[in-house]
Structures are given as structure tokens and as C-alpha cells.
Amino acid sequence: MNAWLDHNMHSLGLALWRLRSAPFASLFTILVIGIALALPTGFYVALINIDRLAGGVASQPEITLFLKAGLDETTGRQLAARLGKRADIAGARFVSRDEGLKRLQDSGLADVTAGLAGNPLPDTLILAPRVTQAVAMEALTAELKLLPEVEQVAMDSDWVRRLDALLGFGRDLVWLLAGLLGLALTAIVGNTIRLQIYALREEIEVSRLIGATDRFIRRPFLYFGALQGLLGGLAGWVMVAGALNFLESSLGTLAAAWGSRLQLRGPGPLEGAALLAIAALLGLFGAYLAVSRTLRQFD
């Protein structure tokens, strides 16, 4: 056990020494790995920020009924009560035209409403449907449109659904990109290790002559691969954090122009740790493949 630990420490030392003894080659490899990891990580960060931005909007779909002008408030409230009892509707809420105007003023559009002669808004009903599937929603909207009190029906959920779909697409894209670039990382590490093995061919052959097992020979290379992956992951993390920092002020200005405040969120400690772990594992995997293959060639 002690000897095993010793050899692991020795292998780690050897791997570090090999990294240090070719600083430029190591640096470039680490940068390439870093970029390969920064791309999917950057996408991921962009996604979580958009997700967070959209998170303020309820993704529970809502149907808004605009009632015909001239109807009195009681009719509206009765309609709300009637619709609220339907099996496919979870709740119905009546918003009078005065209340609507007040809300509009509160939301920062007082300038606009002040210029209006009267209240142009209709009474509205806001429904929360129990069904969420697109087809059922369509059917429900079509049915509601036929009600005599209703002037127009709007599904507020449309853009939320579109955003959700877009985010889902983005997520798939991140996975695809991560998969491809993970493959690239494995190949990059594998290739550097293969070159290194050829450079150390003599040592490997001598070690084998005097009784070294493949495992013994493999170990320093595995540490080397994992270290390269780990440092590459660190480089990727720094790149993403740097990019966020760089973009934050311009995005902040952009958001301010829309009257909003934006705070970007970078990869957190947990996500960063996951990134490093994945990078190290991929490096290890690439090294394992390269060493096993090359050692068999030496036979």
C-alpha cells in the first residue's frame, strides 16, 4: 500500500516535471484544451443567464379574454365565476378597465397614460387553464372566442413557449458542442501523450526489460493527461470568467438603455468544479487510450 502510494506520488512528480520541462508545448496544449472547454461552458453560461432573465415570467400559460366594450362590471364578474367552474380552467380573474389602467400607470408608463383622454382599455378576464398542451389550448381558445361577451382572446403563453423551445434547443446545442469538444479534448491529450511516449520509448523499453508492468509504465502518463486536462479546464474557466467580465459593462449599458438592470452570473463553484473534474477525466481517458495503444505497438 505504501509502495503504491509512493509510486503514485512519484508518477505525479514525474508528470509535473514533464509538464514543466516543455513549458511552451504544455502552455499551447493547455490553451487549446481551454478553448475547447470554454466554448460549451460559455454557451452554458449564456443559457443560464437567459433562463434566469426569463425566469421572472411565469411559464404557466395564461389566456386573456378582452370583453366587449359597454358590458357592465357585474356581467364580467359573473362570466369569471362561470368560467372558473369549468373543468379545464383552474382559475379566472376579472380585471376591470380602471384596474387595468392603474396597473399600466404603476408599471412605469404613467407618461403615456397621462396623455390619454379617456380609458381606452377593455375589461379583461385572465384565465389559468388546466390544460397546457398546445392542441388543447388551441381548442379552448377557439371555444372562448365564441362567447358573446368576448371581443378578443390572447394567449400570453405564446412567447414564453417560444422562449422555452428556444432554450431547449440551446440546451441541446450545448450538449452537442460539449460532446464534440470533449472528443476533441480526448484526441488532443491522446496525441500529446503519444508523442511523449515516442520520446520516452527507450525508458519504456528498458523498464519493461527489467520487469515493469504496463500499469507501472502507464501511471505517469495518466497523471500527465489528467493534469493537462485539469489545467486546460482551469484555463477554460478563466476564459469564460474573463469574457463575462469583458461583456458585462457593454451588456449593462445595453440593459440600462432598456430601463432594466442586468447582472450576469458566471459559472459557480459547483459548476466550475464539475468543469475541472470532467476536463481531468477526459484527459485521463485520452491518456489511457494513447498509452494502451502505443504500448501494444511496442510489443
Binding site: 509502495a3 509512493d6 509510486h7 527507450e202 528498458v206 527489467i210 520487469g211 507501472f216
Partner: protein, 217 residues
């Protein structure tokens, strides 16, 4: 300890290095394997060390039939053999001491114990003063002695030396042969290949002469 039963070795391309060789070597023997270059001496040593596999026949070392051994078992088998090469096969990127430490590390020995043993081996071949130097700075005879130190550091019961004195002048060669004789006297089986037919007369032991892949009578 070593048994060859009707062993032939043909290399790809048809060259027959060994042709129906049978022999037996007992424990603690000192063997001089003589013959011209190309007679099959190196092949015979490689077969004993499991570096080559016979095309025909059986090679049995320490009761193990090498032809039937798993690939993964060879490293452990080889740890019982000290190999000495004509071209030394040293690692030139590290100091003398580290070269001798390598077999111990491979066996899972490290720390002060390993260093102590490596120094003892270096002392035995007279290189203790040079433990921090690089092998490149050593003379041919010193490099050969370093190779021997590396072979004996783990105290193997069997030493195989392939023309260990071929490139050395007489004084160095005599030194090294005396060293092998000393190991043999403490019970180590030593097999030395040489193109010099007079070794047995000088150092005792048993001579086996190979000619064109066969044992000469």
C-alpha cells in the same frame, strides 16, 4: 533451473536462429555461451528471459513453461532475472543512482531502504563515488559496471549477460569477469555469452558452444 527441450526459433523472414536445441542448466552454475556472432547466443539468452518466444519446443525456467505464460505474467517473471546488455541500455537523462533505483521502484521499493540497497550495489561495482553523475560522463567500462549494478540490485537468482565485455579493453574485461565469478560463488546462476572461447579456461564454469543455431559437440 533452465531447460530447453528441442527448441527452435525462426524469425520472420525465415532466418533460423536456433535449430532443435536441448540443454539443461542447474542452479548456481557458471555458464559461458561461446560462438561466433550469429550463432544464436543472443537468441538463446532472449528465450531464457522471455523476451522472445520459441517457434518450436519448450523453454522452462524455474519450473515455468514460458511458451504458456500469460503476457501479464512476464514482468513478474523478469524480476527474477538480472539482465546485462552489451549496449548497457542505461537511462542517460538521470543520475547513476536513479538508474540503479529503477528496478527497485518497479518492485515497489522506495525511500531510504531502496537508496541503501542501490548504494550497496554501486559500491559492489566500485561506482559509489559517482552516484550523482550522469551515465554519459562514465567510461565504457564504468557504464558496463553500472548496468551490472542495476542487474544485481534486486538480488536476482539468475544473471544473463550478453557479451558484457565485447567493447572493453582487457583490464576492464577482466574486472567485470571477476565480478561475475564472485556473484556465482554466492550461489547466483550466471550465464555469459562471449565470442572468446578461452573463458572457461580462465574462469572455470561450463562452456556451451553454439554454431549455426546448434549446440556444437
Amino acid at each position: 533451473m533452465i531447460e530447453f527441450a528441442d527448441v527452435s526459433k525462426r524469425y520472420p523472414g525465415g532466418h533460423e536462429a536456433l535449430n532443435h536445441v536441448s540443454l539443461r542448466i542447474q542452479q548456481s552454475e557458471l555458464i559461458f555461451l561461446a560462438g561466433h556472432s550469429g550463432a544464436g547466443k543472443s537468441t538463446l539468452l532472449k528465450l531464457i528471459a522471455g523476451l522472445e518466444r520459441p517457434t518450436e519446443g519448450h523453454v522452462i525456467v524455474n519450473g515455468q513453461n514460458l511458451g504458456r505464460m500469460r503476457r501479464g505474467a512476464f514482468p513478474y517473471f523478469r524480476r527474477n532475472i538480472g539482465l546485462i546488455f552489451q549496449d548497457h541500455k542505461l537511462l542517460y537523462d538521470r543520475p547513476v543512482l536513479d538508474n540503479v533505483l529503477l528496478p527497485l521502484h518497479i518492485r515497489g521499493m522506495s525511500g531510504a531502504d531502496a537508496t541503501k540497497r542501490a548504494r550497496a550495489a554501486l559500491d559492489k561495482v566500485g561506482l559509489l563515488q559517482k552516484e550523482r553523475t550522469r551515465p554519459v560522463t562514465l567510461s565504457g567500462g564504468e557504464q558496463q559496471r553500472l548496468c551490472i549494478a542495476r542487474a544485481i540490485v534486486s538480488r536476482p537468482p539468475l544473471l544473463l549477460a550478453d557479451e558484457p565485455t565485447a567493447n572493453l579493453d582487457d583490464a576492464y574485461a577482466k574486472d567485470i569477469m571477476e565480478m561475475f565469478k564472485a556473484f556465482n560463488q554466492v550461489g547466483v546462476t550466471v550465464i555469459i555469452s562471449t565470442h572468446d572461447q578461452d573463458m572457461v579456461a580462465c574462469y572455470g564454469g561450463r562452456g556451451i558452444t553454439l554454431a549455426q543455431g546448434r549446440i556444437a559437440p
